[in-house]
């Protein structure tokens, strides 16, 4: 009597054909689904590059350093939008990183247990608000509010070029940056909360036993062991901010020029695509918008891969055993 029933195929001389077919079928279907996902990623890169071909061959890399965008005159350059993207996401990251990490700390270590169960889901709900609703709120509620306060900021800090003469509408790079801040705070907060929860209790208890205060535990134990993870959370948040098209398109004002002042209108790459793609004038216009999408794709992939690499290479366990 054989116990090992499934050791070899030969153990089943009268195996039913349908069983073998079933195994093959489900394995094949699963593999096919994986191939579809892989093929989609490859196809995305391929389609974008072929779509941008016309602009690639006409402008080459000068596209990145030219600052005129005149569809009627077949002149296209991405510099103002690269600048606008860097400006909005940069300001958003500077504002959102400390706030997000602080919320992560609060939710993982500092808050009373009962409050964690309430505030945690509320912060996640903030992430669930669709960008188009944030944008609607941004242009109809936040923008007028900011417009009324910009003159005061300009009066007090006008000597800094960032706080220039305010616009009359309230649609500005600054408004866009604030909306992006709201969008990426919950992302950074939830990643860093999960991260801080992985720090072993022994380490924290050890520090507490030495007489460390809560802040010293955070500063001396939590942050050093998770620094790389915080970096990758920041990269993921930044990647999200760079690629956000809709909310930015609603509040940034769609300007063609790059300004030093945060209170001027501007545009980002993603928002320019959303605003001009449906009404693109000519094939070169289309190709240039595709070119912008290729830039976004490359930046997005690099940031994501970097974030994955950092969080895997320098995970908490590795930091501790080093």
């Amino acid at each position: 009597m054989s116990v090992a029933v499934r050791t070899t195929r030969a153990a089943h001389p009268r195996e039913r054909l349908s069983d073998r077919a079933g195994d093959w079928l489900i394995r094949g279907l699963c593999a096919a689904a994986c191939l579809i996902a892989l093929a989609a990623m490859v196809a995305i890169a391929y389609k974008l590059i072929t779509g941008a071909h016309l602009a690639f061959s006409k402008f080459g890399l000068h596209f990145l350093t030219t600052s005129t965008w005149k569809p009627n005159f077949l002149q296209f350059g991405a510099l103002p939008f690269i600048y606008g993207t860097a400006m909005t996401s940069g300001v958003a990251l500077v504002l959102a990183l400390p706030i997000g990490v602080a919320i992560g700390l609060y939710l993982s270590l500092l808050a009373p247990q009962r409050l964690r169960g309430v505030i945690g889901p509320l912060v996640e709900m903030l992430a669930a608000i669709p960008s188009v609703i944030l944008g609607l709120w941004g242009i109809l509620v936040l923008a007028p509010f900011i417009r009324d306060r910009e003159p005061a900021v300009h009066g007090a800090l006008g000597f800094v070029p960032l706080f220039g003469r305010p616009q009359t509408v309230g649609a500005s790079v600054f408004t866009a940056a604030l909306i992006l801040t709201i969008m990426i705070i919950p992302i950074i907060a939830s990643i860093s909360r999960d991260l801080f929860l992985t720090v072993p209790d022994e380490l924290q208890d050890g520090a507490v036993a030495l007489g460390a205060t809560k802040w010293e535990v955070v500063r001396g134990v939590i942050l050093p062991t998770t620094a790389s993870g915080v970096v990758s959370a920041a990269l993921l948040g930044l990647g999200r901010a760079l690629g956000e098209a809709i909310a930015v398109a609603q509040v940034i004002g769609g300007g063609n020029l790059a300004h030093t002042s945060l209170f001027e209108t501007g545009d980002t790459m993603a928002s320019r695509i959303a605003l001009q793609f449906p009404g693109a004038l000519n094939s070169l216009h289309f190709a240039s918008l595709y070119y912008l999408a290729v830039i976004l794709l490359v930046i997005g992939l690099v940031f994501n891969l970097l974030a994955q690499l950092i969080s895997r290479r320098f995970s908490v366990e590795r930091t501790l055993t080093r």
């Binding site: 069983d19 079933g22 195994d23 489900i26 699963c30 096919a32 689904a33 994986c34 579809i36 996902a37 892989l38 989609a40 196809a43 995305i44 389609k47 974008l48 706030i99 919320i103 609060y106 500092l110 808050a111 505030i119 889901p121 509320l122 912060v123 996640e124 709900m125 669709p130 188009v132 609703i133 944008g135 609607l136 709120w137 709201i182 919950p186 907060a189 520090a207 007489g211 460390a212 205060t213 809560k214 802040w215 500063r219 001396g220 134990v221 690629g243 956000e244 098209a245 809709i246 993603a270 695509i273 959303a274 793609f277 595709y290 999408a293 976004l296 997005g300 940031f303 994501n304 994955q308």
Partner: protein
């Protein structure tokens, strides 16, 4: 070598040179350290409260301006023919439901099959790691990039359609569904598989009869979360499905015309200065937000229950 006291004169003199390497070195002033700590804890609390306050402000202004629009007519009527007050958003609700439904019908089977492959057929293998990376990359793609890709794939030469938007939303949903299903499948206890194996049950019967049923609750809730995310996506709608021919359209397969959608309606209204359109947009935002928050809250509650059942 005597042991250094934790705070006191010696600690203070040493702290200057040790500080960089060991932030835990005592600085000697207990009261100051406590105050610093309190300030830090207070700042973290303030940050959390600020996030909750922003949520409250956004949600309450949507409720404040949107709830008053709400009526049976608003949900069941067409928008007015000419700019003006009144009318409803029925076509937009139908369009969003059709597109998101079709997208989920495409993404769910593929996503679950990928998750099955990663957990049942290639667990821990190089292929599984590759798929994980690919799914994470796909999840990180800006939706506008996906929209432009689908434009080149399905709209050039055919015209806009609800189908094109559904494909784009499916690409957005796919990694969400696959990763959440994978998480749930990993929670299915190993002894269920071993029991099936020891009875000589073939793998495909185990998968269909044992593993999928016990993970089904989790898969459904993961899908619900993806649906909530897709319903709020706007970029693919603007690019792929925003030019609408006059008349009533409900079929996503009528190439050449887009479909009305809730997010499209809100976006267009926010670009114009038409107060009546604005009012309808707030009403639509209220409907959308209510749907999304209820779906994701409900899904999360279900997910927690399922997880407890599977692991406990």
């Amino acid at each position: 070598m005597t042991s250094r006291p934790f705070h006191g004169a010696v600690g203070q003199t040493l702290s200057a040179e040790v500080d960089l390497a060991a932030p835990l070195t005592a600085t000697g002033n207990l009261r100051r350290r406590l105050i610093v700590s309190r300030i830090a804890v207070g700042a973290a609390t303030a940050a959390a409260l600020a996030a909750v306050a922003v949520l409250g402000i956004v949600v309450s202004s949507v409720i404040h301006r949107g709830a008053s629009q709400l009526s049976i007519g608003f949900l069941t009527k067409n928008p007015p023919q000419f700019p003006g007050p009144g009318g409803g958003i029925a076509p937009a609700i139908v369009g969003t439901a059709v597109i998101v439904g079709l997208a989920t019908a495409i993404a769910m089977p593929i996503g679950v099959l990928i998750a099955l492959y990663m957990t049942e057929f290639a667990r821990g293998s190089r292929t599984a790691r590759l798929m994980r990376t690919v799914l994470d990359l796909m999840n990180g793609l800006p939706s506008i990039v996906i929209a432009v890709f689908v434009f080149g794939l399905l709209v050039v030469g055919r015209g806009q359609s609800g189908f094109a938007a559904a494909v784009a939303l499916a690409i957005i949903e796919l990694p969400l569904i696959a990763r959440s299903s994978q998480e749930v499948l990993l929670l299915v206890p190993g002894h269920l598989r071993e029991a099936a194996d020891s009875l000589g049950v073939r793998r495909w019967r185990t998968v269909l009869g044992v593993i999928l049923p016990s993970a089904m609750g989790g898969i459904v809730t993961g899908t619900l979360l993806a649906v909530a995310r897709a319903a709020g996506e706007t970029a693919p709608i603007i690019i792929l499905c925003s030019l609408i021919r006059p008349g009533v359209h409900v079929s996503p397969f009528s190439f050449g015309t887009g479909l009305d959608t809730i997010t499209g309606l809100i976006f267009v209204a926010s670009q114009q200065a038409d107060p009546y359109n604005e009012a309808r947009a707030w009403g639509a935002a209220f409907v959308l937000l209510a749907f999304i928050l209820f779906t994701s809250l409900g899904a999360r509650a279900l997910l927690n229950r399922n997880r407890r059942r599977l692991s406990g």
